[in-house]
Amino acid sequence: MSSLGMQHPEEGQLLRYLDGELPGRKARQIRQHLEACGHCRAELEELQNTAGDCVRYRKNVLGTCLPPPPEAWQDLSRGFDRIDASLAGESLAARLARVVFPPRPVVRWAATGAIAVAVVCAIVYQLRETPSVHAAALLKKAVAVADSRPRPARRIRIRTASQQLTRVVGAGQAASDTPAIERLFRSANYNWDDPLSARAFETWRDQLPAKRDEVAAMEDPQSPDRNSYRIQTTTDASELVSATLKLRMTDFEPLEGRFEFRNRDWVEMTELTDQPNEPASTVAGATGGMSRQPGMPPDRVESLAEPVNPAGVAEELQVVAALHQVGADLGDPVEIARESGQILVSGTGIPPQHQKQIHEALDSIPGVVVRFTEPGGVPSGPGAPPAEPAVRDSAGSAPPPFQARLEERLGGRPQYERFSSQLLDESDAAMARAYALRRLAQQFPPDVERQLSMEDRHTLGNLWRDHLAAFAKESGQMEAALTPLLRSLGGTVAPLDVRSEPAAWQPATEELVGAARRVETLLAVLLGMAPPENPADDTPSQLLAALAQLRASQEHCQRLLSYDGR
């Protein structure tokens, strides 16, 4: 549908459009959509007004009402002289290195990585040479490495004696969902905003007047990626009497933490990794973290990546049902795949809040790996699309063939805009359901469906029934709104083609999706978003026929559902 420019822009796309941050093709689609959709034009106008408020706020509030600089601005010449002198005094080798290897923007990351590797190598060397390495030095290095790279939002699993939950840190999320745990940490003056971090540990440790440290290198022969340093600090001078942090050897990433409090409460944290390239993957629902009892030292790091059972069709269905519960099967770019006995659920560009919902829905299912990635950034600089006028001035251009007639019949331009906007909403909602139905049919073809238990087949039937009912509602509303109008435009209904009807719901679903797409295409022509298919321009009749075919396909699906007794 998006290729036709009919779909309402996703959340945030109008703002990206306004900011000139969309690629050319997408910007064109949105512009095309704006020409036909009054709702989105109004939305865009509101955004423009708010952007105007921002400009005035910057100029009239930040620009004039904040304290002025207390001193006159310095002439930088002396500073330039100092820098020039300093550079002139650099070693010949350093200058040669810059000539031979001129710095490039991309090198920054390589350099950061090289620094991190160098730091890690130095620490490994130090550990081997001096086993009693100080925790302070290790933490300092870990903080330096953490500061040298971006820190996106990430999830940590938190376990206490009475509960287990997942928390997102580092994206400005409120932490009010864990008030009891938060109080514990705050009572110990331990940073709760990012508790599983070297900095939080170091800050807490540094404020202790008396403490005892233990540092150990933990090697995991099965999974060298999980080799780690374990730092344990104990004290009598804080509500937090013992804290343990494990840092991965390769990059100093905090893996796990354990915190024991004076009142005998304990909290364990495990970093959950979503990035596919990270060494550790997350198995939602698998037992993770340090599972020892308080007071019992762990002897080795437990693997987070052991699947409980090889996942099969039934588990996949469970995942589909869980995603359905949070509405993640209606157009989100979420993929489900079975790999190496696990079910891999991957998504790209999912908003953080929705990621959290998906995790909450899936984390309790054994053998499920959830991975989210961000889509590639929009290129900046000369290659970026320039901001274009939001709406083309259509004065002087001929309106699409049916638009004027529709406007006349509906009572004017505003009524037409409301009507087309509502139709597009219904069409979008119907197509989201149609694609969800097709996805079910493709994921569970007849031979796969036969492997399911009766109970699972019932679950599958319920999923299909839900989507089909929602589809029927949306398409029924479209048909009711369109039919009288199409007839008034001269449309006539031809008899339906006689076709053999599929006996299984999977091929019947394919037919339903095909019929829905046909309606979608013709609706685009009717609303002037796509050219007519032929010069005869019998779109009203074609659309009436397509609606009738769609209804027939949908009724056939419903009959199959009732025959099946599900």
Binding site: E21, E46, Y57, R58, L66, W73
Partner: protein, 172 residues
């Protein structure tokens, strides 16, 4: 793009011009980060010296203004961490002289609206506010993302949420 091989005088001239144009903006941005005025001014000057150093070392910068704000952001956070307390962002409304339109009634309305707008900005999350302020300074999403250590799409999401909240000010 600033070429690597420019001579020192040309680089001084280039950085000097950007300093003239953008130092007040950088200073203001540092105030919004919570730095007190003397430290904000000192840091703003330091940022341009760092720009000069980077260019003298041959760094190629696609957008020096965006680079300046990225460095200002990171430097500002470090300085703020050393400050005993975070300076509140408190516009001195009472010191505002003539309004932007010259019409007392319109200016009063605008003043009230901007007061509400400021409250709404204060109510944004730290990340939303950072994205918004950097966007106000003309940075593109990838540049903001680079400054804050987040992806461009996350910047878009933060800005969307910020605009949603700020939109409501018009109807209050």
């Amino acid at each position: 793009m600033i070429a690597q091989e420019r001579n020192t005088a040309a680089l001084r001239d280039e950085v000097g011009k950007l300093y003239e144009e953008a130092r007040e903006d950088v200073y203001r941005y540092l105030l919004t980060l919570g730095l007190n005025p003397p430290r904000a001014q000192e840091a703003a000057q330091e940022v341009f010296l760092r720009l000069y150093t980077a260019l003298r070392k041959g760094d190629k910068l696609e957008n020096p203004r965006a680079w300046v704000f990225r460095v200002a952001h990171n430097l500002g956070l470090k300085i703020r961490a050393r400050q005993n307390s975070e300076e509140p962002l408190a516009p001195q409304w009472e010191e505002q002289n003539a309004g932007p339109t010259g019409n007392p009634e319109s200016d009063l309305l605008e003043h009230e609206r901007m007061t509400r707008f400021h409250s709404a900005v204060e109510g944004l999350s730290e990340q939303q506010r950072r994205c918004l302020f950097l966007r106000m300074e003309g940075l593109r999403y990838p540049e903001i993302g680079s400054a804050l250590g987040i992806s461009a799409s996350t910047v878009g999401e933060f800005l969307r949420r910020a605009m949603e909240r700020l939109k409501k000010v018009r109807y209050e």
